[in-house]
């Protein structure tokens, strides 16, 4: 975590005094409880319990009400985390993208570490019109291209959202698929095609 974030955490801690005092007072330091309550299993080591600065800031029950300057800082840091396609190619194969969107495999201790990760997009989003088993935690992405034209600006913005959604929405619920190394740049290209290729079932 960067030094600036530590300072901001202290600021947030003070802001947290507006929450009911008894709750804030008795929760105390969770670290010893976290340490004793989990055991490493499969690919899920105890290091996963350590929080990043963003995770800590976004763990407040009032994360929606973060001060504007904190939100802007989280968004700026998220945008700075994005790595763009090194060959300037935004779109891959929508059919592979559909498979990635359907698959929820990856990073659970019950998953084989060598298995390719999925994006599990349908868990939270509507995408293709023909897939009715979609979740509603995130917005519908059906007919995404109609709303995002497909020019270079929307290509870049879509890439950035998949890489690290906090770039536009501090404390977004969506995993940082690029920044956290959940998906490879090639897989993100395939998801880009699922969203933006005119032939993709998302857009037909």
């Amino acid at each position: 975590m960067r030094r600036g974030s530590i300072v901001l955490l202290i600021v947030l801690g003070l802001a947290g005094c507006s929450t009911p005092r008894d709750q804030a007072a008795v929760a105390g330091d969770l670290t010893p409880i976290i340490r004793s309550s989990f055991r490493a299993r499969g690919q899920a080591g105890l290091d996963r319990l350590e929080q990043t600065g963003m995770q800590r800031l976004c763990s407040s029950p009032q994360a929606d009400a973060l001060p504007a300057d904190l939100k802007q800082r989280l968004q700026r840091e998220a945008l700075e985390s994005v790595r763009y396609p090194d060959d300037g190619r935004w779109l891959g194969d929508w059919q592979r993208g559909e498979q990635i969107a359907q698959s929820g495999v990856g990073l659970q201790y019950s998953d084989k570490p060598e298995a390719p990760h999925g994006g599990n997009c349908y868990a939270c989003h509507q995408l293709s019109g023909s897939e009715i088993a979609f979740g509603t935690i995130g917005p519908s992405l059906y007919r995404y291209r109609e709303r995002n034209e497909g020019g270079v600006d929307s290509m870049r913005r879509t890439w950035e959202r998949i890489w690290n959604a906090h770039a536009f929405n501090a404390c977004s619920l969506m995993p940082r698929f690029g920044d956290a190394g959940i998906l490879t740049p090639d897989q993100i290209r395939d998801l880009m095609a699922l969203l933006l290729d005119p032939q993709s079932p998302v857009n037909r």
Binding site: A24, S37, F38, R48, R56, P61, F134, L173, A180
Partner: protein
């Protein structure tokens, strides 16, 4: 009907129910494709098999001390099972700790019956398709003895209030490669993962719908699953390491949920997806 033939019929029925529900009514109406299945089963919850075995195991002298669990104090006095599940977790002076039902059960099996704690907790949940564990059937039995009882998880003493406060903080704590907290999926009304509706566990209504119905016969697993299992499997999907059975974090999260659910009426074991 034998359990085996019941399962065979059930499996076929699930497929038919899902296919017809999704096919005819579409996604909006298919939030709970198991509801008609539940209605049809009515009182025939296969958890009753576990409950019956649990009652027998509860009342039979067992373990190195050759004692039954009749001497177990679940918080309402030694031997009182009726209504006890609905007021757990609570603080116990004899261990100076807040315990949920399952950790208190282990405590009784160790202190009353002489079982070894490590052996009891090494595999608390049955493998898929395997015989249910003693902990699972005993939990199913005890929950039945609170059916209809108003949930009254206490906040009388400091330790209980601290457990709630930690549970609430843990509920919102984001971590891991997916940045998930419990709150990521469970802090808004009428959200779904795929077709599965998610209870909003930040308020009484959603917390009651969850707390009232666990332990549950989990149709997709063909087994009774407990509240500790429910938390553990959520944590697995959060991409975190394994939540230790009976750990402080697990108890605190159940306290948080149980306190929010106060005023609801226990209706477990239920049938779940």
């Amino acid at each position: 009907m034998t359990p085996r033939s019941w399962l065979a019929r059930t499996g076929a029925f699930i497929v038919v129910t899902l296919a017809s529900t999704v096919g005819h009514r579409g996604a909006e109406a298919a939030d709970d494709p198991f509801s008609s299945y539940r209605q049809m089963l009515g009182e025939d919850n296969p958890a009753e098999l576990a409950v019956a075995r649990g009652e027998e195991v509860w009342k039979t002298p067992r373990g190195p001390s050759n004692a039954s669990l009749a001497g177990c104090d679940l918080g309402l006095g030694p031997g009182v099972v009726s209504g006890a599940y609905a007021s757990l977790p609570r603080y116990f002076a004899d261990t100076d700790s807040v315990m949920d039902f399952e950790t208190r059960l282990v405590h009784c099996m160790v202190t009353v019956q002489g079982f070894a704690r490590d052996e009891l907790t090494a595999k608390p949940f049955s493998e898929r398709g395997a015989r249910q564990t003693d902990l699972e059937v005993l939990t199913a039995y005890a929950a039945t003895q609170s059916r209809g009882t108003t949930i009254d998880v206490p906040q009388q003493v400091r330790q209980e209030r601290e457990s709630y406060a930690r549970g609430r903080a843990l509920f919102y704590r984001r971590a891991g490669p997916y940045d998930f907290a419990c709150a990521t999926c469970h802090s808004a009304d009428h959200r779904r993962i795929r077709l599965q509706e998610l209870p909003n566990l930040t308020g009484a209504e959603g917390a009651r719908s969850a707390f009232e119905h666990w332990p549950a016969y989990r149709i997709s697993q063909g087994a009774v699953r407990t509240m500790q299992w429910r938390l553990s499997d959520c944590v697995r999907q959060q991409r975190l390491p394994e939540l230790v059975f009976g750990s402080q974090a697990s108890i605190d999260l159940i306290t948080y949920l149980g306190v929010l659910a106060r005023g609801g009426a226990m209706d477990a074991p239920s049938l779940r997806r």
